[in-house]
């Protein structure tokens, strides 16, 4: 670790902090129906969309109608994306004449982009045409992110409102989020990416003859437009197989810094939006602090583990000064690579600028654990916020148990129904992750896909199902996941991780919205205090730890011990 490295991390996070307040307040204004500076340009488009789609923007939806709208929209998105992928061969903008995508892979990919996971069992350069990338995948990068934010706004209104049935209107939240937040930010960011070297063209490839006379075909495409929303929408699905490690997706240290900033910006601003909408910006800062504490711990552990290098290679005579360089790019450096690793998994983004499979055991433990903790640190756009609200509800419940009072959060009494629904939601992750991993670990067809043996092989399986269920999308990519078994089970894991999680959360929101807000009393546990932040972090770590420690002990933890005993597999 070096001072320069920590400075680079600090500068990046400071740039995020700089936008948290204005962006958070902007979104609060937008989602409470106020006019913003973008309304003169975008309002006609917004209302044109409503007219064409027959949407009455003033109409409120209860939790069940909101959930049904979201499910129908996701279903329509799945159908159209599946069709585009299967029919790619006969659709335009296909210079390499790529054939349609196989059914199991098309299913997996459609679910993946729809649930904001962006797990990719394929290599973009040899599987997807520019049309499939633009009109298929990139569209869902926007819409799945907007869906997540819409859901978070519905959950926010449960606390902002008192004695009401309505949680907002899904179509309005979706449209506003896409038009006023995601699209303008994407345009600016995409142009910045092009300036830094990210291609944006309809040309299929460069056909070069290298300095030593070999032929090198270099794929091109409309990358920058996709790269921008991939980062901003915490999607993480790369245009190319190497994702954000590819020099075209991420050409320089500066573009890397910008990519990290873009991943964090909206997710870090949403707690402020939440705070503002429930009438306490301090509450937003308290949530953000809890997210930051765990994430910074993760960054420090990855940075330390990776700069410590691989003792097995040092023993062969390799200079350990640069740290563990297997699966890393020279231009990013260890500090910003470590930050990217922790942010992309704390966030449910899943873009990668290093190969997580080649991280040291403890360096690889961090992304795995951050996903398993529930993708709330700070979590994917939207999904992170509603996940965090679930943990808040559990935290005040734990505090209530300790002092024997009915717990409250933001003036809403948390009762048996809410706790049951919150627990139902948080049980989805361990059920899906541990269930599928244990089955795969005994299945010869699944084990044949492993790229590494020993404890690292188990980590590859555990990572795949964690990533899918957590809607993250990064991978220990040595695993050959493009098989019918993995395409199907990971697809199911992604669906359960998104929809089986959010439905109980929406039901909880519906029940909370209907309650009247009670005034604070001297017995109310203050949820903006440092004590609450500590309790929240404790609940997240203990819950995640209890669920996943045994599996982690058999994977990365035992691998770390074996590394220092010089074992190989």
């Amino acid at each position: 670790m070096s001072i320069n490295g920590w400075l680079q991390i600090a500068v990046t996070l400071a740039l995020v902090l700089a936008v948290v307040l204005p962006l958070g307040r902007f979104m609060a204004a937008l989602f409470t129906g106020q006019r913003t500076f973008l309304h003169p340009i975008l309002s006609p488009v917004e209302h044109g969309f409503y007219r064409a789609a027959g949407i009455d923007p003033a109409r409120e939806q209860g939790w069940a109608a909101y959930a049904m709208a979201m499910l129908v929209f996701s279903g329509a998105g799945f159908a159209s994306l599946y069709a585009i992928l299967r029919l790619q061969g006969v659709l335009p903008f296909n210079p390499a004449e790529l054939p349609g995508v196989a059914p199991d892979l098309a299913f997996n990919t459609a679910v993946s982009f729809l649930t904001n996971t962006n797990w990719q069992a394929y290599s973009g350069e040899i599987t997807m045409s520019p049309f499939a990338q633009m009109a298929g995948l990139a569209v869902h990068n926007f819409l799945s992110a907007a869906t997540g934010i819409a859901l978070a706004m519905a959950v926010t209104r449960a606390f902002a409102r008192s004695g009401e049935m309505g949680l907002g209107n899904f179509w309005v939240d979706l449209t506003r989020c896409t038009l006023y937040v995601l699209l303008p930010l994407s345009i600016v960011l995409a142009l910045a990416f092009v300036a830094l070297g990210v291609p944006q063209t309809l040309t299929g490839s460069l056909d070069a003859t290298t300095l030593e006379g070999a032929r090198q075909v270099i794929p091109l495409g409309p990358l920058a437009s996709q790269e921008a929303i991939k980062q901003l929408g915490t999607n993480g699905g790369g245009y190319f197989n190497a994702n954000s490690a590819h020099p075209f997706e991420n050409p320089s240290a500066l573009s890397n810094m910008l990519a990290i900033w873009a991943m964090l910006a909206i997710s870090a601003a949403l707690p402020i939006t939440f705070g503002r909408m429930v009438g306490s910006e301090r509450q937003g800062w308290a949530l953000l602090s809890a997210m930051a504490i765990v994430m910074l711990g993760g960054v420090a552990l990855v940075y330390w583990a990776e700069t410590s290098g691989n003792p097995l290679l040092t023993a062969l005579g390799v200079d350990p000064a640069l740290g563990n360089m297997e699966g890393k790019e020279v231009r990013f450096g260890q500090a910003m690579s470590a930050l990217f690793v922790a942010v992309t998994t704390g966030l449910s983004c899943g873009a990668v600028d290093v190969m997580h499979d080649s991280l040291t055991p403890l360096g690889g433990l961090v992304p795995l654990l951050l996903i398993q903790l529930g993708e709330v640190l700070p979590g994917g756009v939207g999904s992170g916020l509603y996940g965090m609200v679930v943990f808040c509800v559990l935290a005040v419940f734990v505090a209530g148990l300790m002092v024997g009072r009915t717990p409250e959060f933001l003036g809403k009494k948390i009762e048996a129904r809410e706790i049951r629904l919150a627990v139902l939601a948080v049980l989805i992750l361990p059920l899906v992750i541990l269930g599928f991993t244990s089955v795969a670990a005994m299945l010869p067809a699944a084990l044949a896909s492993l790229n590494n043996q020993g404890p690292h092989g188990l980590s590859e399986l555990l990572y795949a199902y964690s990533s899918a269920a957590g809607n993250n999308g990064s991978a220990f990519a040595g695993l050959n996941a493009n098989t019918p078994w993995f395409n199907t089970t990971l697809g199911i894991a992604m669906m359960l991780g998104r929809f089986a999680y959010v439905l109980p959360v929406l039901a909880m929101a519906g029940s909370l919205a209907a309650k009247t807000r009670v005034a604070e009393s001297s017995g109310t546990f203050p949820t903006t205090s440092l004590l609450f932040v500590g309790l929240l972090v404790g609940v997240i770590l203990i819950l995640g730890g209890l669920q996943f420690f045994p599996a982690l002990a058999l994977g990365p933890i035992v691998e770390h011990v074996l590394m220092h005993a010089s074992a190989t597999f």
Binding site: V72, E125, A135, T178, G197, A245, M257, N310, V352
Partner: protein, 179 residues
């Protein structure tokens, strides 16, 4: 469910036109006008010959050239990606053992994440000076000067890592020979 069908399909169609076609195509137009070089993949030409992209690493194996990092895909740009070998992998140990010389820079014996890393560390470049100088019958001092001139520092002294673009370095060395 039925009343949601029209909003769902109409919004999906409108957003597909806006986000899937208008947005990327408009950006392609603007990018091509404002940053034509970057938009087309930062190509490098010698005369009329396209020799690659300054951002994409390419294979070099002749002794008179500086060599890039090992690549899991052999610098095939259609197959980007890393080795994905874990730290305890016997394959990794065997591969490094075959390449290692005592005190070698870590990036010289490890594969990059993309398989297309265009850069090497300055330590890695300096470790190759003796071989390149011998193959070119040049004094080592001259080659070392070229490496120093091609070494990019951190941006603003802060961001990124010192590095050497292998293609640029080899072009700089080949240029005086061409004259």
């Amino acid at each position: 469910m039925i009343p949601h069908l029209r909003p769902a399909f109409v919004l999906l169609a409108l957003f597909t036109l806006l986000l899937g076609l208008a947005y990327p195509l408009a950006l392609t137009g603007v990018a091509g006008l404002v940053f034509p070089h970057q938009a087309e993949g930062s190509p490098v030409h010698i005369g009329d010959h396209l020799i690659g992209s300054s951002l994409i690493g390419q294979a070099f194996s002749k002794p008179e050239h500086f060599h890039p990092r090992p690549s899991a895909s052999g610098y095939d740009a259609m197959a980007s990606g890393g080795s994905n070998l874990g730290p305890l992998s016997q394959k990794l140990i065997d591969r490094v053992k075959a390449d290692v010389t005592p005190g070698v820079a870590a990036d010289a014996v490890t594969t990059s994440a993309s398989g297309l890393d265009p850069d090497i560390s300055p330590q890695n470049a300096l470790g190759q000076v003796a071989r390149v100088a011998k193959a070119r019958s040049l004094p080592e001092e001259t080659v070392r000067d070229v490496v120093a001139a091609q070494t990019k520092p951190r941006l603003w002294g802060l961001i990124g890592e010192p590095r050497v673009n292998v293609l640029a370095l080899n072009l700089a060395l080949d240029k005086p020979m061409a004259n």
